[in-house]
Symmetry: C2
């Protein structure tokens, strides 16, 4: 197990205990699925086995693999000995010779069955399946808690970045104020293309698809669903609440226009698809107003570090009351970046006492079950942010600025800056000007109401006005 | 213990186990020193006690404090009951009613005695004292290993950022290629001032001192010693080697000239004080060429995320073979940011089984002792990087570019770009031009040798030529 020359027992380190210790037997892993995530995990475990064993204190060995296509799986395993191959996932989930099950199949239906079966048979589980945990997490974590096993899921959020560990273990001193992340690489790639090359959404999506950054059916990514799965897990760990994906507010980037990307840039902002979870610490002391859980495109200051996160990269900001703002950055997808998280979870399991008594050392959702609270999730209308508005008006309409100002003022929406941006419009022949507004913080529903009424002002709007939220992330 | 209304037992979470579990007794903490770090720890533990207990699964209570000035300590504790106050650190280190000792006194001499005494008495230790661990870490970790207790030190590197946890636990799947960090806030504040305001080092240092970012005697920070302590700990955790501070190459920023900050900017770079640890994975397979452990100012590409880390903030980049490049960012100093790390370490200890069997779940330096190797640290002369050179020559000396090129070529130093930068010089009256060179990768000693010989060319250099290393961080 320790046959790498670089990890052979050393001598001559002053004072280091050298007494030979009986090495515990290797951790035996069963894997369901050997596609992108599974094959990466296999590869990394083999390539770095000595370094991994040196850190874990014991070897980590894959002893059983379930795959739909057994022949293809055999090709990946490339003649490795001692690995049982099957097309029956339940065989692996319940295998008597397996300590931990890696669920690398994806999806939410059968994967739920397999994971629950593994837990029922006393196996630890490692998965990078955010959809599974965002939808069935409460059931799965409760079962694991009751059975005394761990369900580890570092790879479920921003794969290469140990953000689950940071939230669950690194920042435990803090009351978390907010978490904000670029947690979907596909949309960030598209937004980067739109900005750098002035493309509209459809063209940028086409490039992303051609380059393999977006799937043929991109809706899961571009409509914000994938980011909402991850934001749900971040919120649960930040605030000590169950996973509440069904209450998340989810908007994607499909409706985003090139002109708004350009106008945002002109105002000193960039547009990013953010996953946000926020809790007001002050209000929280009295009647609890709930937390915010939302995914939507937002303007962020161009000088902010998060605005520099381009292409398919991910980054998560966490603000705590003691640590201040911290940021975590890395690849958000890919075979080996995901394997990096899956294997780290395996090392965590391997490092636990062999008798498993410390299996729930770190609670699944950061807080121990008795300390969790089913916090209400605010309706999006009650969420207060700054806003960017663009109101397209007929060129030369002299009172446009005044009319927009007046309507905002009437509803108590305070303006931080307002300016006229001369067309051309995104489409159409007639000359169009755009009234651009940056507001101070205002409730979402109130700003929506102003927009509705602006649309009803006779002869004002020549196209639908646009509203995007602004996050200063301070 | 769980009397915060936000953390009261919840009902109605589907499927969550609700059986009342006997809560283990609180973790009892003794603290040595109650200055910046200690008072922050006290404050955070009190303010967030419910959230912390909800995460840890048990309360965390400070039961004894040692301080040089007991009256001042009493003022900090502000009448808190149940805390024993003493002016004898050994009393706390060996206190029968204490499970964990927080060493918040600083320094390396007496702190070493107290920490070793605590370990000998079976206490876990938490410290943010990087000097102590960089100098005495091997002795301290060996003692802790032998006694079966944990010495936790998240606060010793880039305080608010859980980078020790990321390296020891989050990235355990990887062979780490390199770690590079802005890990001293004082010098980063000074470098930011030099760039933004065109100040020379002395003026920027003066501002840093006036604002409290630098001490009256700033040598520990500006000469790179503090960063080298932290880089030493990062290297040990990245590569599985003992702490080898005495072998680190350490250069500070005292000699940095304003003209080089400006020239770097003109070439598309920024100058940062980097702490670097690097290991060549390929070479490592055969005869081991050793690792690099060095602190020095370096040019980094202005568009790189690390170049955007300004003021007193810290950031650490880690490149692993599976995860790729990841980055961790946050405050690098301050009372509560440090407390954030100290308390997270206490939660880690509290989460271990009460019988302490899992105390060394995570090895002190990432790798278990038997898997560590006392890797050689390369002499700086053998380290290969790109280089920035500035050769000040008399204005109008027509062959200056050719002479510089020729000397570089003769020693096999390949040039990537070379240009003439017209003075004025940093000082003096005579007109000076500057030959600016960016080289490809070359051994440090070879570039030094070229500079020596350039100085000997008759009538060429009118001031000492300058050499800075360049790191692309890809």
């Amino acid at each position: 197990m320790f046959n790498d020359p670089h990890l052979s027992p050393l001598s001559g380190v002053p004072g280091e205990a050298r007494a030979p210790i009986a090495t515990p037997r290797p951790l035996r892993v069963g894997m369901i699925g050997i596609g992108t995530v599974g094959s990466g995990t296999w590869r990394v475990l083999r390539r770095n086995q000595a370094a991994i064993a040196g850190r874990a204190g014991r070897g980590i060995e894959i002893v059983a693999v379930a795959a739909r296509n057994v022949a293809r799986a055999a090709a990946v395993l490339d003649g490795a000995e001692g690995v049982e191959l099957t097309d029956d996932p339940l065989r692996v989930a319940t295998h008597p010779g397996v300590d931990v099950v890696v669920e690398a199949a994806g999806g939410t239906g059968p994967a739920r069955e397999w994971v629950l079966a593994a837990i029922a048979h006393g196996k630890h589980v490692v998965t990078a399946n955010k959809a599974l945990l965002a939808v069935h997490g409460n059931e799965i974590f409760a079962a694991a808690q009751q059975r005394g096993v761990a369900v580890a899921y570092e790879g479920a959020v921003a794969v290469s970045i140990p953000i689950v560990k940071a939230l669950r273990e690194g920042l435990t001193a803090n009351r978390i104020e907010w978490v904000a992340g670029i947690i979907n690489g596909t949309t960030n790639f598209i937004l980067t293309k739109m900005r750098d090359e002035g493309l509209d959404f459809a063209a940028a999506l086409g490039q992303a698809q051609a380059l393999g950054y977006a799937e043929a059916d991109p809706s899961f990514d571009v409509d914000g669903v994938d980011a909402a799965h991850k934001a749900t897990l971040l919120a649960a760990n930040a605030f000590g609440m169950p996973v509440r994906f069904e209450r998340a507010h989810v908007e994607g980037i499909r409706g985003l226009q090139a002109i708004d990307v350009a106008c945002a840039e002109a105002l000193g902002f960039r547009i990013k698809l953010l996953g946000m979870a926020r809790r007001d610490l002050e209000e929280g002391e009295g009647e609890d107003p709930g937390v915010e859980l939302r995914v939507h495109p937002a303007l962020v200051p161009a000088r902010h570090l998060l605005a520099q996160v381009d292409g398919s990269m991910n980054a998560v900001l966490v603000k705590g009351d003691a640590c201040g703002v911290t940021m975590y950055y890395g690849a958000g997808a890919g075979s080996e970046p995901t394997a990096s998280a899956v294997v780290a979870d395996l090392v965590d399991v391997a490092r636990l006492a062999a008798d498993g008594t410390a299996a729930n050392r770190v609670p699944h959702l950061a807080f121990h079950p008795h300390a969790r609270q089913d916090l209400a999730v605010k309706p999006i209308g009650a969420v207060r942010t700054r806003h960017y508005l663009r109101v397209p008006v007929a060129a030369g309409r002299a009172d446009a600025m005044a009319v927009v100002s007046e309507h905002l003022a009437r509803d108590g929406v305070s303006v931080q800056a307002q300016q006229m941006h001369a067309g051309p419009a995104a489409e159409g022949d007639a000359a169009i000007d755009h009234v651009l507004v940056l507001t101070h913080e205002a409730a979402d529903a109130r700003v929506q109401a102003v927009l509705e009424r602006l649309r009803e002002v006779p002869d004002l709007c020549v196209q639908a006005p646009v509203r995007l939220r602004v996050e200063m992330l301070e």
